[in-house]
């Protein structure tokens, strides 16, 4: 009977969860080693549908920074991580960008969107763009 070993990441204890399952109907026949209910849930999720939120960057045109940090709004199935990275590598956005803005919809038909992780203002030639923001003006020194 095939089995899967999963290290639980929910707390520092790092329980080693061992799951035996039937290939035919993918039903779990035995699960051991988890330390709590949350760990049990985590183990089953990792068995049936392992997914990860991808965080990376995309290029920015005319921004005060060359890169925009982005993340997938939800976990991407683990086996799609590299195809999705490839897809994201083709994206370039034009500044300004607002945090939370959708950068790309429905990545590789997963139904999952790519989201901007910060504001990036348009580059205006100022060396210290932060000072242009409201409430952040430096006082003039006499």
């Amino acid at each position: 009977m095939p089995g899967k070993d999963i290290i639980c990441i929910l707390c520092p204890r790092g329980c080693r969860i061992k799951i035996d399952y039937n290939v035919d109907n993918s039903s779990v026949s035995n699960i051991t080693g988890y330390g709590c209910q949350k760990g049990l849930d985590y183990g089953l999720e990792e068995l049936h549908n392992p997914s990860r939120i991808i965080t990376t960057t995309v290029r920015v045109k005319n921004g005060e920074l060359p890169l925009l940090p982005v993340k997938t709004e939800r976990g991407i199935p683990k086996d799609l991580i590299f195809p999705v990275m490839k897809e994201i590598s083709n994206i370039e956005v034009e500044a300004p960008v607002r945090i939370g803005q959708i950068i790309k919809r429905n990545l590789l038909n997963t139904g999952i969107d790519l989201i901007a992780g910060r504001d990036i203002l348009k580059y205006n030639g100022d060396e210290f763009p932060d000072k242009k923001k409201k409430g952040a003006e430096a006082p003039v020194i006499e």
């Binding site: 290290i7 990441i9 965080t55 960057t57 940090p69 210290f128 409430g135 952040a136 430096a138």
Partner: protein
Amino acid sequence: MIDYDLVVVGGGPAGLAAALEAKKNGIERILILERDKYLGGILQQCIHNGFGLLYFKEELTGPEYADRFIKKLSGTNIDVKTGTMVVRINRKKEITALNSKEGLLFIKAGAVILAMGCRERTREAVRIPGDRPAGIFTAGTAQRYLNLEGYMPGKEVVILGSGDIGLIMARRMTLEGADVKAVLEIMPFSSGLMRNKVQCLDDFGIPLLLKHTISRINGKDRVESVIISKADENMSVITGTEKEIPCDTVLFSVGLIPENELSREMGLSLDKATGGPVVNELRETEVRGIFACGNVLHVHDLVDYVSEESEIAGRAAAAYIRDGLERREREIIVERAENINYIIPQKISFIDREREMIKFFMRVKRPEEDVRISIADGENKKLASYKRDLLTPGEMLVINFPEKLIKDNTEKIKMFIEKERR
């Protein structure tokens, strides 16, 4: 000379939280000095998620976590000078700083919060022999190049040290197309968080070689290979175990050191174990009205704790400015047993009937299982005891100690860890 009630040195997560909390507690004239072009500190390059689970009860990336504080700040009258480097602070709370627009600045502060963060240990700090070609970076420098500036540091990578930044960079470099050959750790356990080990190494099949180190770096212009060796329990290389790994890049993730040049110059005593100033429970250094919080005080593993600690400092600075602190006649010294690496705070200086708990942040020296952390008074009478299943040096431990257990005549309390009796 410019005059402020409060000057916060550093605009990272610690400085931002401290300044906002002081503002919330009624302080009007606050200035943040930040040497980078942007606020947010190291969070801006930590584009991965996992931040905020404790503080915001949701999972955020580093820039998102920073954005929450920066947005809050822009709705206040807190002044910010970015691109500004503080070069000196004296015990009279006079600050010398400089930037390229205003030149040299002299600032007088009613209170100061030190929030300068920490720096990475380098190859030189851990004395790895060999050539000195291009391609050798600290993990955080590589992270900045890759995530903020848009340069790929290399293609075939060996990482020394299993600290969190090293683990995060192993995944990040892999996602960007690099071949991460191995992560080496000289200790018999990973110093990073478990979730980072699983999600950054195991997910991508990157081997973690415990009790291993780099014994030589080879390369003329660019790194060509590293020689790795097994290490014994004294962290010495075992000869005869050498193996060569071809690579073009070596990343060092071998620990962080609180950045305390300014503190040292003003003569603050530093705790050897934390690398940061000695502080009381309100994060006040030995100079009254000068506070320290965040990684300049001790290296935290979660930014959530940095925010929490910085709010303590921010509130305390506000109370100091308003003259609202009640000091104990004698400070209570916090002692620790041998297997505890450090405890923050190192002393208790104030009387505060309103607070229910004093929070201790601490780290153990080595992993401990099924233990009890106990706090005793000067006569070795046990005051409180906390059961823990597992303690590791990589995970900071938080202990809430009830204020009411402190008697007026208490001179010291001592913390120790003992095996739980079954």
